[in-house]
């Protein structure tokens, strides 16, 4: 059974003039124990999608979906309270800048103890303080922080970025989630630290069978860690499939350009030669092109592209393009 099954999710920003369609009919499925990458450049709506799954978007946004199932249960039909209960139990999220997300005025230990849920504790109220502390230390050990005594007493600014991210992951693990959404967990981090965090997430996925939705703007950083990848562009679904399908035989011109433009994936091209790139820049929300939003930048765009293409499925490799590159391989 699918853990998360989203079909045609649209997110509208309600503005005084006309509503802006920030995310346009995106589908996403997650199986149990799967690591899925969600790739898109800035403004592609990937963080919005994560927030919509968590249900933390405020009144300015309108979420609509044909299907929004969590383990077979339709989330759109539930009241906000019921939905909140399910989501807080099973889904956790970690953010991009761990230092900014932790409370700077309290110590790491206190913040971790806060995250430990009451159901995990037993006994009388005077025993609970100690239990909480032990649970917090256990969580730190789980994310590979051995030196818990110093860590618990420190404030966020006293730790490095990578350690803070580990603490964030520890907090996310406190309720043993089934799905962890990692919203660019390693942005602005050194490559050695990036490796550490990714390895930690991979081991959690293997040992605890936790599904991970890994959000990133960079395709090349993800490929080693994910089973499947979904690519988005400017709020529209572009392509989804296994990592090998996406990376070796991309069907969509945009994915093709992403793969070609990464200097690391193209080790064979001579140094200092020109990289393949798309002209122009990402459209802003106020001036979105009609139809396929890649249209003005796409090398293969033709007249039909003013109509948004339908998603086509080739053996689990989904692509949304009128002129997919399928036949060129």
């Amino acid at each position: 059974m699918n853990l998360l099954d989203i079909r045609n999710l649209s997110i509208k920003l309600l503005s005084p003039t006309a509503p802006i369609l920030a995310v346009d009919r995106v589908s996403l499925t997650m199986k149990e124990g799967e690591v899925r990458g969600l790739v898109g450049e800035s403004g592609s709506g990937k963080s919005l999608l994560a927030q919509a799954i968590m249900g933390v978007l405020d009144d300015k946004w309108e979420v609509h979906a044909d299907r929004f199932h969590w383990r077979g249960q339709d989330l759109m039909r539930l009241t906000p309270d019921e939905r909140k209960q399910i989501i807080t139990q099973d889904v956790a999220i970690i953010f991009q800048e761990p230092m900014a997300c932790l409370d700077p005025t309290t110590t790491i230990g206190e913040q971790l103890e806060e995250a430990v849920s009451v159901e995990k504790l037993s006994g009388f109220f005077w025993q609970r303080g100690k239990q909480r502390r032990l649970a917090a230390i256990n969580l730190l050990h789980k994310v590979g922080i051995k030196n818990h005594e110093i860590c618990i007493k420190s404030y966020p600014h006293e730790l490095t970025e990578a350690l803070c991210q580990r603490v964030m992951i520890a907090m996310a693990l406190a309720r043993r989630p089934l799905l962890l959404i990692a919203d660019e967990p390693t942005a602005a981090m050194e490559s050695t630290n990036q490796g550490q965090i990714f390895r930690l997430l991979a081991s959690l996925n293997q040992l605890k069978n936790m599904s991970i939705l890994l959000i990133s703007h960079d395709l090349e950083n993800l490929t080693h860690w994910t089973n499947t990848v979904t690519v988005m562009y400017s709020g529209q679904f572009v392509e989804a499939g296994t990592t090998e399908q996406i990376f070796n035989t991309p069907f969509h011109p945009y994915t093709r350009a992403l793969v070609d433009s990464s200097p690391r994936a193209n080790m064979h091209i001579p140094a200092k030669s020109r990289l393949m790139t798309l002209p122009g820049s990402i459209p802003i929300l106020q001036h979105l092109p009609i139809g396929c939003r890649l249209g003005p930048r796409c090398p293969k765009a033709q007249q039909a592209c003013v109509q948004a293409p339908k998603v086509k499925n080739y053996h689990g490799h989904q692509v949304s393009c009128h002129y997919s590159l399928k036949d060129s391989y």
């Binding site: 800035s42 602005a188 490559s191 050695t192 080693h224 433009s261 200097p263 690391r264």
Partner: protein, 260 residues
């Protein structure tokens, strides 16, 4: 023949007073020497606190070195002589959004270095600004825009325009490509490489993305805790790293390539 830029034993240490009597010395950068030719790119690789940004600040003149000499075309650069230095060595920063003054139009932003450093009159300056904007792929109409009206990639182009408008010989890119989206980043790399060929610029690229370093640079320097651990031709160094630290750094990025 002397190189474009020669650096001899450049170092930087800070003195921190602990109490009235004792002072502690923190060495940010141990003495380094290197040289850079025109049309060439030197990449500086290292972790946070390895002294790469300190080195960039020393070269651009934002900090005075504790020891050592910097020679440009055989001429010694004096610390504090900004008139001489800011024309020849320019810098681009990581976050272009915060380095552009939001209350000035692009024309005013680009006019400032020209007004302070050259004796061109107003029409000549305006012509030069138009030409420079065209060079980095923007239009002359963009002159009257404010920075907030541009996207991230365009802002980075404006900081590049500000850097090349004085016809410098060396540009220092301090993580200038890190914050850009992949498709804009490859556009920017293409643009920088074109400019290097046209103007014979020497680049000093500070980056931790080894893919870009491999593609972009000719020589490469690895810094660790303020010490230079290795320097050499980029290709040879990436192929056969000698120092343990370099190997670790390459491993941490290379294993991501394993499944290609």
């Amino acid at each position: 023949m002397s190189s474009l830029l020669q650096v001899y034993d450049l170092s930087k240490s800070y003195h921190v007073s602990q109490n009235i009597f004792s002072r502690k010395t923190i060495v940010a950068l141990e003495p380094v020497s290197f040289s850079l030719e025109a049309h060439q790119t030197l990449a500086i690789v290292g972790e946070i606190g390895s002294g790469k940004s300190t080195l960039a600040k020393l070269l651009v003149g934002a900090e005075t070195p504790s020891s050592g000499k910097i020679k440009l075309n055989g001429q010694t650069l004096q610390p504090g002589n900004f008139k001489q230095r800011c024309q020849h060595i320019r810098m681009i920063f990581q976050d272009s959004a915060t380095t552009l003054n939001p209350s000035l139009t692009i024309r005013q932003l680009l006019d400032e270095p020209l007004y302070l450093n050259t004796d061109l009159n107003e029409t000549e300056r305006s012509e030069l600004i138009t030409a420079t904007l065209k060079k980095v792929g923007l239009l002359a109409e963009h002159m009257n825009f404010y920075p907030h009206m541009f996207s991230g990639g365009q802002k980075q182009r404006i900081s590049l325009a500000r850097a090349i408008i004085l016809q410098p010989q060396i540009i220092i890119l301090d993580e200038a490509l890190a914050a850009l989206d992949p498709s804009l980043r490859s556009q920017m790399i293409n643009l920088l490489l074109d400019l290097q060929q046209q103007m014979g610029l020497g680049f000093i690229l500070i980056s931790h993305n080894l893919g870009i370093v491999r593609h972009f640079s000719d020589t490469m320097m690895v810094l660790c805790n303020g010490q230079m651990v290795e320097m050499g031709n980029t290709h040879e160094l990436l192929k056969a790293p000698k120092h343990k630290y370099t190997k670790k750094l390459i491993m941490s990025q290379r294993f991501q390539l394993a499944n290609k």
